[in-house]
Point group: C2
Chain length 160, copies 2
C-alpha cells in the first residue's frame, strides 16, 4: 500500500515536472512579428510582466519538483515538503491565471478600454502562449493532486 | 493547546471571510466614466472577464468560509474541509492573480501591443480595483495560513 502511494506520488511529480518544464520552454520560445502600415508589431513574452512571471514561476516549479524527487521519504525534511508543495501549487496557479488573463485580452481585446486583439496579427505567438497555458494547467492539476494525495496519506483513516 | 489551535483557526477564517467579502464588494462597486474628445470611456468590472471572475471567486470564498464556521470540529466532515480549503485557496489565488494582471495593464498599458493605460482617465475605478486587490491578497494570505495551520495540526509531532 505504501509502495503504491509512493509510486503514485512519484508519477504525479514527474508529470508536474514535465508540464512545468514544457510550459516554461514553450512560453520562453514564443516570438512573432508582423508589419502593419509600415509599423512593426513585435510580440515577445518579455514585453509582458505576467508572461515573464509565468516563465519564472514554471521554471521554479520544475526545479523544485525535480529537487523533491531526491528527498528521502522517511526523513523529517520530507514532512516539510508538503508546506512547500502548497506554496508551489499557489505560485503555479497565480502564474497560470495571470498569463491566462493576458492571453484572453490578446485574443479578444477589450473594446471598452480601447485594447485591440493582437492574435490576428501574431498568430504564432498566440499559439505558443496557448500551448504554454495548456502545459501549465496540467502542472497546476498535478500539484493540486499532489497536495490532495499528501492530505489523503495524512488523513488515511478517513478514506478506508 | 487544542483550544488555542481552534481559536487561531477561527480568527484566520473570520479574517478570510472579511477580506473576501470586502474584495468582492469593493470590486463590484467599482465604476467610473470620463469623456475624451467626445468619446465616453466607461469603466465597470463587468467589462473584463478577469474582474468578473474575481468578484465571483471572492463571493464563493466568503460564502464557503462562513459555512465552514458552522461545521462541528469533531465530525468526519470537518476532516474533508481541508480538501475544500486547498481548492478555495487556489481559486482565490487564481482570481487575485488574473485581476492583478489586468490592473497592471490598466495602470501601465502595454506599448508593444498598442494598449494604452486607462487609470489616468478613470482614477476612481482604478482606486477601487487596487483596494479590492489588497483585500483579496489578505484573503489569499489568510487561506495560505489556514492550510498551513491544518497541516501543522496534522503533522504536530514535527513542530514540538
Amino acid at each position: 500500500m505504501a509502495k503504491t502511494s509512493r509510486l503514485c506520488s512519484l508519477l504525479l511529480r514527474l508529470l508536474a515536472a514535465a508540464a512545468t518544464l514544457c510550459a516554461a520552454v514553450v512560453m520562453a520560445t514564443s516570438h512573432d512579428s508582423t508589419t502593419i502600415f509600415g509599423l512593426t508589431l513585435d510580440a515577445k513574452f518579455q514585453y509582458t510582466p505576467s508572461l515573464e512571471f509565468f516563465v519564472v514561476a514554471n521554471a521554479v516549479g520544475c526545479g523544485y519538483t525535480l529537487l523533491v524527487l531526491f528527498v528521502p521519504p522517511t526523513t523529517s525534511l520530507s514532512r516539510l515538503v508538503i508546506v512547500f508543495d502548497v506554496t508551489v501549487a499557489m505560485l503555479l496557479t497565480a502564474a497560470t491565471a495571470a498569463a491566462g488573463a493576458m492571453a484572453e485580452v490578446g485574443k479578444k481585446g477589450n473594446s471598452h478600454a480601447g485594447w485591440m486583439p493582437i492574435c490576428g496579427q501574431v498568430p504564432s505567438f498566440c499559439d505558443h502562449v496557448m500551448g504554454a497555458l495548456i502545459c501549465a494547467f496540467v502542472g497546476v492539476i498535478a500539484y493540486f493532486l499532489i497536495v490532495l494525495h499528501t492530505i489523503y496519506t495524512l488523513l488515511s483513516p478517513l478514506f478506508p
